[in-house]
Amino acid sequence: MRRRRRLQQEDGISFEYHRYPELREALVSVWLQCTAISRIYTVGRSFEGRELLVIELSDNPGVHEPGEPEFKYIGNMHGNEAVGRELLIFLAQYLCNEYQKGNETIVKLIHNTRIHIMPSLNPDGFEKAASQPGELKDWFVGRSNAQGIDLNRNFPDLDRIVYINEKEGGPNNHLLKNLKKIVDQNAKLAPETKAVIHWIMDIPFVLSANLHGGDLVANYPYDETRSGSAHEYSSCPDDAIFQSLARAYSSFNPSMSDPNRPPCRKNDDDSSFVDGTTNGAAWYSVPGGMQDFNYLSSNCFEITMELSCEKFPPEETLKTYWEDNKNSLISYLEQVHRGVKGFVRDLQGKPIANATISVEGIDHDVTSAKDGDYWRLLVPGNYKLTASAPGYLAITKKVAVPYSPAVGVDFELESFSERKEEEKEELMEWWKMMSETLNF
């Protein structure tokens, strides 16, 4: 249904549903207004050929500044879960407006973070959902992509692999490394899924959120139960920080964090919800989801936000949803600046990419990016961090981590050959000295 465009509703944000053309226009408008700090790009096309558009906000758009963490928001991967899509459009406009007004929090965020916003991962599904007549939308129409694939069950199931590795030994991170080629050749992967996987491989994302609808909770890894049962709390090694991140979102959303809120539907089981957050598997088991895929294939920590009891609520409610989520969205963005961050370099000062940074007591490592930069989200506490790389001697450092901001810790690694050379020299020196002393 075509509606007359309502212009200038509160700072250029019009609280109405955006179909694909309007979505594109809205992003273009943000770019036009904030050309200095924004850039639009596409990670690929949906099955029906719609661009999977992303708007990037940063003080140097298009460029990864060494040491600057990368963040992403993805909405509407289920096409009929519409609130996330709209919120992300509003967010882009809001960040641009606030930046130009000189809002310190926003200015700081944009200068120190590279923010990527993808309002819709499933534009085809959305069109289907939105094309339904009347305001009451079906629970399923438009959920999957144009091929009928549920994108949030379509990712390679790395949970199962990590559960095996926990028992039998094996890597605790970047489980996709050996499978990359096979992902490209896997016919079962939807084009949208493939596009996201490539996106994740390309950009060293640190923190991410995946916006859904149909309930009201912030959901964190793991999503799939260890035992295979229907519900079972299945914590990941970073359970502590994930709970903290989830709370950072839910606590600013009044309805999400309302302890007296009744469940969305009378018979819903929300026994696993605590302060508006839940472990994914404790709620219900989800295999092949994007959230866990992020955590197990890359350095990115991702949380799934369920933003509305109704998946595709009436347009008039969008403004309220924005008010309810605005602060949460910003608060969650700020979480990327926590824990420990820094550079791993060699003794000559050259960056070492793909170095491993492990934390004693947490069975999940992260790796350094191309410029040797790394970011390790951690809850406050005392930690021992070890940086290592093939051919280099590992170094461990003790770090005390506050709530925020992130503590800077750099590593200069000595390569084996360098050490060998040193030791050789040492011995040569000793031999020389000995021979002079003992006269042989």
Partner: protein
């Protein structure tokens, strides 16, 4: 290697035998290394290296899904083979998937884009315009009921034309054309002239229409000469034959002979060279309405455009890209659209006196001039653009989407410029340079069009807005 081992032995011996003498260390800060050696390098260096290397080997050959696979290299080869065959399969699939989404995309754009919506609407309004033409246009080549003219009618029309325009030249043009096309002989031309003169005289004297019974002879002769011409549609046939014969060279020479004929004229219009003008009454009327010297250039441009268009159509017919009928109907539609556009422009000038932020009416006329100029490039594109701008001028008011979008973009750009100006008065970055900004915008919009983020249309609109700043 052996030396080092030997050295280590001696070192151990020496240390044991003389504990007092501390082992001399070479210079350089070793504190960190010693400290770390405690935590991470506890074992001798070589052992550590050996372990690391064996780990590496293990990792390279570690099986992907099944731990415990013994023959690692075999699994690797198998997987590679599988991968290759699957890859070929997938490539083919991907090809078709790539193609169909692309096709679908085009379809989707048809459904989604407002531009195509306008085309559909435009097409409708043009159709109704054609009806409009039949009713109002006496100079057209059809009667009121739509039937084509007879030869007598033609004579009558020619005479009427001459009378109305008070210009003999009309007749000359028509006759020259017919002569050049070989449709009539010289003697027939003279006969025709006589007939027309006669009718003209009657008109002048009586100021009333009457049909003459003369032109059977020339008509039948015309028919016998080129058997293809259907009986009733002579002028149409004339045009059609003109196109079908593809005698563009003749047209050129025709122009030259006409130039000589110019001397007979009392008034000299530049459009006199344009002998096909007779077939475009609305265009001709439009040209007439542009009288002032100031717009003489515009007049010339319009004529050039029309000429180019007509030549283009002829070329297309000559090479068989379109049929003569299609060519004729295209040009008829063109003329019709001009009529409509002119009419609407007049209406719009009367009703629309508001000046908007960037004076939208002038922007629109700017657009019209732009689109008029661009017409010379491609036939279909011009046709589409014409239809678009006709729709734009529709006083009913566009649907709000395209209007809203342009306004939204305008607003966004305005805010950007404002912010840039304000931001740079503080002198933070390099001085705000509008031309640099324009270049950047041009570059980016082009890139966005390539990537499918912007329509060509939108990109042009944005560039236009920036260039008008």
């Amino acid at each position: 290697m052996g030396f080092l081992w030997t050295g280590t032995w001696i070192l151990v011996l020496v240390v044991h035998s003389s504990p007092i003498q501390a082992f001399p260390k070479p210079e350089g800060s070793q504190d960190k290394l010693v400290h770390n050696r405690e935590l991470s390098a506890e074992r001798p260096l070589n052992e550590q290296i050996a372990e690391a290397e064996s780990d590496k080997i293990k990792n390279i050959y570690s099986p992907e899904n099944k731990p415990g696979e013994s023959n690692y290299s075999f699994v690797d080869n198998l997987n590679l083979l599988k991968a290759i065959t699957e890859k070929e399969k997938i490539e083919k699939e991907r090809q078709s998937v790539r193609n169909s989404p692309y096709d679908n995309k085009l379809n989707m754009e048809d459904v989604d884009s407002t531009k195509n919506r306008r085309l559909i609407d435009d097409y409708d309004s043009t159709k109704s315009g054609l009806d409009h033409k039949f009713q109002d246009d006496p100079d057209g080549l059809h009667q009121l009921d739509g039937t084509p003219l007879t030869a007598e009618d033609i004579v009558q029309k020619i005479a009427t034309r001459i009378y109305e325009e008070n210009d003999r030249g009309v007749f000359d043009k028509i006759v020259s054309k017919l002569l050049n096309l070989g449709l009539i002989t010289e003697s027939q031309a003279h006969t025709l002239e006589d007939e027309v003169a006669e009718v003209l005289q009657k008109l002048i004297s009586k100021e009333a229409n009457s049909y003459e019974e003369k032109p059977n002879k020339p008509t039948s002769k015309t028919e016998s000469q080129s058997g293809k011409i259907p009986e009733k549609v002579i002028p149409m046939a004339a045009i059609q034959d003109g196109f079908a014969n593809g005698e563009n060279d003749e047209t050129v020479s025709n122009t030259l002979t006409l130039t000589n004929g110019l001397e007979r004229r009392t008034k000299t219009y530049s459009e006199d060279n344009f002998e096909e003008l007779q077939y475009f009454p609305n265009f001709y009327a439009l040209l007439k309405s542009i009288d002032s010297e100031k717009e003489a250039k515009e007049k010339e441009t319009l004529i050039t455009i029309m000429k180019t268009l007509i030549d283009f159509v002829k070329m297309m017919v000559k090479y068989g890209t379109i049929s003569p009928e299609e060519g004729v109907s295209y040009l008829e539609n063109l003329d019709e659209t001009i009529a409509l556009q002119t009419k609407n422009k007049l209406e719009k000038n009367v009703t629309d006196n508001k000046s908007k932020l960037f004076s939208a009416p002038s922007m629109k006329s700017h657009e019209e001039t732009d689109s008029t100029k661009e017409e010379a490039a491609k036939m279909e594109k011009e046709y589409g653009t014409l239809k678009d701008s006709t729709k734009d001028d529709n006083p009913r008011g566009k649907t709000d989407e395209p209007k809203g979008k342009t306004e939204a973009y305008l607003e966004a750009i305005r805010k950007n410029i404002e912010w840039l100006k304000k931001h740079n008065t503080r002198g933070n970055k390099e001085d705000y340079d509008l031309s640099k900004m324009k270049d950047f915008i041009n570059q980016q919009t082009e890139a966005y069009v390539e990537k499918g983020i912007l329509d060509k249309e939108e990109a042009d609109a944005i560039k236009r807005i920036y260039s008008s700043l």
